[in-house]
C-alpha cells in the first residue's frame, strides 16, 4: 500500500485501545479537542463495539498539518490499555513506532516486537496508589494516560488543564482528581522517558475558523433551523444522536418563553414503520417533519415511503448508514443504502436524496431537504453515515443567512381557496409537474382525499388505466425535475482536463481528495466529481462523457453508486469502473491509490 513515510511534527496517527464502558471516550474527546485548540488540524474516529461494557474499543486520532482528515490506518503510536486486544493493537503500529502500554502487569513476550519502542507506564498501579474506590481508579486511569500523552507528544498542558477547568467548573472535587491524575501520568513519563517523541505537536493557527462537531448534531441543528416542528423516531445506532441533538437544541431554542411549553413535538415511535407514518401525518398537516434512522429502519419504512411518494406528502428521512445487510455491523460505517434510498418501496418510485460529506453539509443539506421535500411534495433523504454522523469533525464554522425564507412549495392559502372556483389536488396547473396542495382545516374548498390507492389528477379514486398513467408520468417528471435543485456536484478539474476521472460520494470525499493530491504530486492529474444529490444533474453525465475512464469510489460491495450512474445516465458500462471498500472503516487514501493504480497507465505515469 502506498503511503507517505514522512511523519513527525504535527503529522502522525495515534490509536488508543481501551475497554468499552470504562470512561475512555471522554478522555479521548479531551485529547482531540486539546489538539484542535492548539490550532492543529485533527480528526478522531471512534471504532466502538455494539456493546455497553466490556468489549474492546478504539479511538483513532490523526494529526495532519496539511489538513487531511480522512482516516489513516498508519499508526505511529498506539496506546494499548486493553490486554484483550494487545495482539492486534501492537501489530498495528508502524515499524519504528511506539507502543505505550500499562506496565502494571508485565507484557507477555509473545507481544514483543523489536522494530518498535515499548513505553511502559504502570497506569493501574499509579491510580490504585493515588485514588480510592474502584470506579474512580478506572476513570482516572484514562486521565492518567492523557497526562502521559501530553508529555510524550508535547501537547500544551495549559490547554488541557483549561478544558478540565471548563468541564468541571462546578465540581471542584472532580477537577482536583482530574488534575492529580493528569500529572501522575505526565510526571511518570517525564521521569522515565525522553520527552517529547519525534512525533509531536506544535502549536499552529489552522483551526481558528473551524469548529468541532458530529454530523448528527449538525443535522439536528439543521432541522431546528429549517423550522421542523415534528420529529418521530425509533432508537437505532448510529442515528439516535440526531434526535438527541434535536431535543437538546429544541430545549435550548424552542421553549415558549411565556408558557414554558414546547414549540416542537418529538414522538418516540413503537417502530420505524410508525415513525415514518407520524412524519407523513405531520407533513400532511403542513408541519415540517422528519425521522432519523439507519438502513434497517429504512427497510421497515419503505411501505410508507411509497405512500408519501404516491400521495405526494412532504417528508424528510435521515439515513445514517451503517454496515448491512440485515443487522450487519451496527457500529461500523458503510454506504450500503444508496440504491435503497433512491428507489425505496414497491412499484415505480424514485426519491430525492442528498449526500453530505461532512457535518457542515449535514447542517446545510438538512435545511435543503425540507425545502426540497415541500417544493416537490415528496419524500427526501439525507444520506449520511456512521463516520460522518457519530465522529467529531473539524469543519469550517457554520453560517446562517438571516434573510433565509423557507420554500414551503405550492400551498394554497385560505384566501386563494376562497377565490378559487374548485380545487383539484393533483392537477398540474402550472405545467411544472407540481400540483398545488392544501392543508387540512384551512378551507372547505381545499378538502380532498389523500390516498395510496390509484387516483386520477383530480384526486379521485381510480382504476382507469389512462387516469392512473397520467399521474404516474407526472410524478416521474416531477422528481426528475429536482435534479437541478439538489446540491450541484462538487467538481475538481485539472487544467486542460484529464483522460481519467474520479467520482465519489459522501464521506469518501476526504480520502479521495487526499489521494488525488498525492497523485498530482506524482504527476498523475485526475479530474474529480463528488455527487451531492439525486436525481443526478446533467453535469454528472457530462463528466462521465468527458472522460475515457471514470473510477467510482464508494463504500459498499455492490458498486451501488456505479449502478445508480448506469441506471440514471446514458453512460457506457465499460467506462465506469469501481473502487469499493466496505469493511466498515472510514475510507483512507491508500485504498483509493491502490484502486486507481491499474488505470494510471492511461495517463502514462507510474505512481509508486
Amino acid at each position: 500500500m502506498a503511503h507517505d513515510s514522512t511523519y513527525g511534527v504535527n503529522d502522525f496517527g495515534l490509536k488508543i485501545a481501551t475497554v468499552n464502558g470504562t470512561g475512555s471516550a471522554s478522555a479521548n474527546g479531551l485529547l482531540l479537542q486539546a489538539l484542535f485548540r492548539m490550532g492543529v488540524p485533527v480528526s478522531g474516529k471512534n471504532v466502538f463495539p455494539s456493546n455497553i461494557q466490556g468489549l474492546p474499543t478504539w479511538y483513532e486520532i490523526r494529526v495532519n498539518a496539511d489538513g487531511y482528515t480522512a482516516r489513516s490506518p498508519d499508526f505511529q503510536i498506539v496506546l494499548a490499555m486493553n490486554p484483550e486486544s494487545y495482539a492486534r493493537d501492537i501489530e498495528e503500529v508502524v515499524s519504528g513506532g511506539w507502543i505505550l502500554h500499562d506496565s502494571s502487569r508485565e507484557l507477555s513476550d509473545e507481544f514483543k516486537r523489536d522494530d518498535v519502542t515499548f513505553l511502559g507506564v504502570p497506569f493501574a498501579d499509579l491510580c490504585v496508589q493515588r485514588f480510592d474506590g474502584s470506579r474512580t481508579r478506572i476513570l482516572m486511569k484514562n486521565i492518567t494516560y492523557v497526562g502521559a500523552l501530553v508529555a510524550l507528544l508535547d501537547i500544551d498542558m495549559d490547554v488541557v488543564k483549561g478544558m478540565l477547568r471548563e468541564k468541571f467548573a462546578t465540581k471542584q472535587h472532580l477537577m482536583d482528581a482530574n488534575f492529580i491524575a493528569i500529572e501522575l501520568g505526565y510526571d511518570y513519563v517525564q521521569e522515565h522517558f525522553d520527552c517529547p517523541l519525534p512525533i509531536r505537536l506544535e502549536t499552529m493557527d489552522a483551526t481558528k475558523d473551524s469548529v468541532m462537531v458530529t454530523g448528527n448534531a449538525a443535522a439536528a441543528l439543521g432541522c431546528v433551523y429549517a423550522g421542523a416542528t415534528v420529529g418521530a423516531w425509533y432508537p437505532i445506532t448510529p442515528a439516535t444522536s440526531v434526535m438527541d441533538g434535536f431535543a437538546e437544541y429544541c430545549n435550548r431554542f424552542r421553549i415558549d418563553p411565556e408558557t414554558g411549553k414546547n414549540n416542537f413535538c418529538i414522538l418516540q415511535a413503537e417502530d420505524e414503520l410508525a415513525a415514518a407514518g407520524m412524519v407523513i401525518g405531520a407533513g400532511w398537516m403542513g408541519a415540517r417533519a422528519f425521522t432519523p434512522t439507519a438502513g434497517p429502519g429504512v427497510s421497515l419504512m419503505t411501505e410508507f415511503i411509497g405512500l408519501a411518494y404516491y400521495a405526494e406528502v412532504p417528508s424528510v428521512f435521515f439515513d445514517i448508514q451503517r454496515a448491512g445487510p440485515s443487522t450487519g455491523m451496527p457500529t461500523r460505517t458503510q454506504q450500503g443504502d444508496l440504491l435503497l434510498c433512491a428507489y425505496a418501496s414497491h412499484g415505480d418510485t424514485k426519491h430525492i436524496a442528498l449526500f453530505p460529506a461532512d457535518p457542515k453539509e449535514c447542517f446545510e443539506f438538512a435545511v435543503a431537504a425540507f425545502d426540497l421535500a415541500e417544493r416537490f411534495q415528496t419524500p427526501t433523504f439525507v444520506v449520511s453515515d456512521l463516520d460522518i454522523g457519530m465522529n467529531d469533525w473539524m469543519i469550517p464554522k457554520l453560517e446562517w443567512d438571516d434573510d433565509f425564507v423557507p420554500d414551503r412549495g405550492k400551498v394554497l392559502s385560505e384566501e386563494e381557496l376562497e377565490q378559487a372556483e374548485r380545487f383539484y389536488r393533483y392537477l398540474d396547473v402550472d405545467g411544472d409537474h407540481i400540483a398545488a396542495r392544501t392543508l387540512p382545516g384551512v378551507h372547505p374548498k381545499g378538502a380532498y382525499f389523500t390516498r395510496g390507492s390509484g387516483h386520477d389528477k383530480y384526486g379521485r379514486y381510480t382504476e382507469d388505466s389512462d387516469a392512473y398513467v397520467e399521474v404516474m408520468d407526472r410524478l416521474l417528471k416531477k422528481v426528475e425535475s429536482a435534479a437541478d435543485s439538489v446540491p450541484a456536484p462538487d467538481m475538481y478539474s485539472v487544467e486542460g482536463g484529464s483522460r481519467l476521472g474520479l467520482i465519489s460520494i459522501g464521506g469518501c470525499h476526504w480520502a479521495v481528495l487526499e489521494a488525488r493530491a498525492h497523485l498530482a504530486r506524482e504527476g498523475a492529474q485526475v479530474d474529480y466529481l463528488r455527487v451531492r444529490g439525486f436525481p443526478f444533474s446533467d453535469a454528472v453525465e457530462q463528466f462521465v462523457d468527458e472522460h475515457e475512464i471514470v473510477i467510482v469510489v464508494e463504500q459498499n460491495r455492490d458498486e451501488q453508486l456505479r449502478k445508480l450512474l448506469l441506471l440514471e445516465t446514458r453512460c457506457s458500462k465499460r467506462k465506469l469502473v469501481s473502487v469499493t471498500d466496505y469493511g466498515g472503516h472510514p475510507l483512507s487514501k491508500g485504498i483509493v491509490l491502490e484502486g486507481v493504480a491499474p488505470y494510471l497507465e492511461l495517463l502514462a505515469v507510474e505512481v509508486p
Binding site: V224, A232, V279, G441, V442
Partner: protein, 351 residues
Amino acid sequence: MSYITKPSARHPRLPTNALGLTVRDYEGSMSTLCAGCGHDSVTAALVQTFFELDVEPHRIAKLSGIGCSSKTPTYFVSQAHGFNGVHGRMPAIAAGANAANRDLLFVGISGDGDSLSIGLGQFCHAIRRNVNMLYLLENNGVYGLTKGQFSASADIGTTSKRGEVNAQGPIDPINLALSLGATFVARSFSGDKKQLVPILAAGLRHNGFAFVDVVSPCVAFNDHPGSTKSYAHSRSHMHEVVETDLVPLRAEIRTDYAEGSVKLITMHDGSVVKLSKVAEEYDPTDRRGVLNHLSETGARGEIATGLLYIEEAGADMHGFRGTVDRPLVDLPFEGLCPGGAALEELQREWR
C-alpha cells in the same frame, strides 16, 4: 370500482344545525360496500353525530387504513380532509397529524384486520400515547375484501361461510384497550344508531383516545348462524350496561338525578356526558370493576355494550409531550429558527 357522485338535491325543509348546515352536508360520496353492510350504518351514525355537534366539516380530519371499513371515510363529510393510508398504520399517521395540528377533530376508522392483526402494535401504542381522536373499530370478525378469512376477533368455534371452524382464541379489543389504560372505551352495534350516536358524540368530545368497538356485521361473509358477529347473534346477545347521553355545551342540566343511578362527566370542552346505569352496580369510572363485569358477563356469552369506561382527567399526547396550545403548523418560521446570532454563540461551545 369508480368514483360515484351522489345527487346533490335535498329536501327544502331539512332541519339545519347551528352552522345552518343540514345532515346532507355531512354526507360523503356513495358507498360502494355491499347492500346491508353494517359499516354503512356506522357511517350514517357518524353523519348524524357531526350534524348534531355543529362541527365545521373542514375542521375534521378523517383517517383510515386498508380494508372495507377503511373505505368508509369517503362516505361521510366530503368537505373534510381524508387520509386513506396503509394497512394497519392509520394510528401513526393520526398521531403525527395530531402532533402538527391539535385543533382539528380527528376521526380514525379501522377494522378488525387493521387494528387487531397487521396494526395491533400501532393500535396499542395509540392508546398508550392517548392520541386525542375518535377511533372506531368496525368489527365483523372476517376479512371481507379478500373474501372471508377469519380475523383475529373471530370467536372460538365460529364457522366461516365455507364451513371452516375457527380454533384460535380471539383478541378482545375492549379488554385490550382497558388493560392498556385507555381513557374512553365503548362498545356498540352498527344496528343500534340510538345508542351509537351519543357514544360517538361523547367520544368526539373526549380529550384523548376515544375507542369505540362497533360490532358491524358483514352480510357477504359473516352473517350466518355459525357466526358470533351476525345481526341475529348481536341482537340477541347484546346487553346495554350504561346508557349514554351528551349534554351539549349550551344546554343546561335541569333534572335532578337520583343518587347512584346517573353519573355526570364533564368533558374537556365543558360539555357533559350523562351516563345512566342499566346494569346494577356498574361504575364506568372504575377500571377494575369494569374489567370484572366484562369478564363475568362475557363468560355467560353476553356482550356488554355502552360507554363502558371513561376517564376524562388524564393528559393526552400533547399533555405528555408538553406541546404549546397553539397548533405547531400555525407557528411562524421566525419563531422557530434561532437565527445567525444564536448559531454564532452556540458554535463557541464547539471549539
